[in-house]
């Protein structure tokens, strides 16, 4: 047999060997699948929490009040200017008339239209800013200072307490997700490695005899690697299928009024990383196990 033939043979042996200890292999497959499913569910949950947090937090809204006497024309210009400033993501403006309408609606459609001619409300705007990672407080303070110094602006209301809270969250958010993710991957890897290691105990005898009759490193390790990879891939795929099913049924339960929580599935990129890590762990743990065998 030449090298290619032997390689093919060893790959085949790896696959055929899976059929030998059917019971142990079955156990391992079930255990891995469930474990990976559990881990993925965790990651899915965290991913969605982060999505929610990112879309809601890390941003800060504050209101600007103009003097009731300010000319609406000037104010419109200032709105334009503000919405072009750094960090500003969006600006929702209310003319006194719009403010009155929205107020009237908020009160349960109480008719306030009789106030129209004598509108007590000033022009207002709600500004949403994206907090920069570095020195968020100072930047926003600067922005507010700028705005307050504009002519006609009464005040921009942002308590320093609210600012402090938001910037704290922004800093934390980036620091939680990835460490937590790494933690979960680590935990799952450890359990997976243990499961593999225990399974390989059942192969120890064969490995010993193969060594004694002169088998080289590759002859011994290739089939075991192939077996581990196949198991990892199958259980990974099964776990993903389970995850998709879980996501669907959870969506049916959660994505209803009044929760409207939609669980997004993991993006393709995450799934690629998942399989990468899976293979890595499979190879590593089986390698460790054979080394000691």
């Amino acid at each position: 047999m030449d090298t290619v033939n032997r390689l093919v043979f060893l790959l085949g042996k790896g696959l055929r060997d899976l059929g030998i200890n059917k019971w142990e292999q079955g156990i391992t497959l079930v255990a891995l699948t469930l474990l990976l499913f559990l881990g993925l569910l965790f990651i899915l949950a965290m991913f969605n929490v982060r999505q929610q947090v990112l879309s809601r937090q890390g941003q800060l809204s504050f209101e600007i009040y103009w003097d009731s006497s300010a000319s609406l024309k000037k104010v419109r210009k200032q709105w334009d200017a503000i919405s072009k400033k750094d960090y500003v993501v969006s600006l929702t403006q209310y003319t006194p008339q719009e403010a009155l309408d929205s107020l009237s609606e908020g009160l349960g459609e109480v008719d306030l239209q009789w106030l129209k001619g004598n509108n007590p409300l000033p022009p207002t705007a709600v500004v949403t800013v994206e907090l920069p990672k570095s020195s968020p407080r100072e930047s926003v303070r600067g922005l507010i200072g700028d705005i307050e110094s504009m002519p006609g602006v009464d005040r921009a209301s942002l308590s320093s307490k609210r600012l402090r809270r938001a910037s704290t969250w922004t800093r934390l958010s980036g620091r939680i997700f990835y460490p937590f993710l790494a933690g979960i991957i680590f935990l799952v890897s450890l359990i997976m490695a243990n499961t593999f290691k225990l399974t390989l105990y059942t192969k120890q005898e064969e490995v010993e005899v193969l060594r004694l009759v002169g088998a080289g490193r590759w002859f011994i390790q290739m089939p075991i690697f192939v077996g581990a990879i196949v198991q990892a891939l199958i259980s990974g795929a099964l776990a993903l299928v389970l995850l998709k099913a879980a996501q669907n049924s959870l969506n049916q339960l959660l994505n209803v009024p009044p929760l409207w929580l939609e669980l997004h599935f993991l993006p393709a990129q995450h799934i690629t990383i998942f399989f990468g890590v899976l293979l890595g762990v499979a190879l590593l743990s089986s390698w460790v196990a054979i080394r000691e065998a």
Binding site: M1, E206, E208, V209, L210, R211, L212, G214, A215, R217
Partner: protein, 216 residues
């Protein structure tokens, strides 16, 4: 083929081999004779690379054991076959698979593998056990599988540890005949035993006496 110079081996502080020196020429038939616990198995394990050399120098089938790296061990083991005292057959594999194992490891073509396996099993009277898993074999049958596995590759050197412990007189005699045949075709035979009667059956053989770790 074999050349030992002042080889000593200890498990912990218990010296099992003490200053063992001898030489075996290619094609010789050698008995390593000694009582239980003399160190026969230990010596064979050193020669086979299962135990690494602690003191002294040893050459086996062209390999210098004092310079044997981990990567060289498989090569040494393909040149030197062993019959182990505890057989070391794989209980869940069939006789055929067990016997073919060393050829599989060497990458010998399938057809040739089949032919040789069948031939050696016929000689050792295992022909109607071929497809049974080894856990369903009697002690003597398992021993014969171990022997078949060792000689099937036509090794330069055959180390054999008490190969007749579980065989009756007829099979023992038959086995010695097989060893003699291989010997005539060029295989060096190195046979550890405590059975004095085996020695008598191969008068031309050289006998090394091992006792309490000393060899004369």
């Amino acid at each position: 083929m074999l050349k030992l110079r002042h080889v000593s081996y200890a498990f912990g502080s218990h010296w099992v081999l003490k200053n063992v020196s001898f030489e075996v020429e290619p094609g010789e038939f050698v008995f390593l004779f000694g009582p239980s616990g003399a160190g026969k198995t230990t010596l064979l394990r050193v020669l086979h690379g299962s135990l690494s050399l602690q003191r002294g120098g040893a050459h086996v089938a062209g390999f210098d054991l004092s310079r044997l790296t981990k990567r060289m061990v498989p090569k040494l083991r393909r040149a030197v076959s062993v019959v182990f005292q505890e057989f070391k057959v794989l209980p869940h594999k069939t006789v055929r698979e067990n016997v073919a194992l060393p050829m599989l490891v060497r990458g010998i073509p399938r057809a040739q593998m089949e032919r040789r396996t069948n031939a050696i099993c016929r000689v050792l009277r295992l022909e109607n056990r071929m497809n049974l898993p080894c856990r369903g074999l009697s002690g003597g049958e398992q021993q014969r599988v171990a022997i078949a596995r060792a000689v099937v590759t036509n090794p330069y050197l055959l180390l054999s540890d008490e190969p007749t412990g579980n065989l009756d007189d007829e099979l023992s005699t038959r086995l010695l005949e097989i060893f003699k045949q291989f010997n005539q075709f060029g295989t060096t035979i190195f046979l550890a035993t405590h059975n004095r009667r085996l020695l008598e059956q191969v008068p031309q053989a050289k006998v090394l006496h091992l006792e309490d770790g000393y060899c004369e």
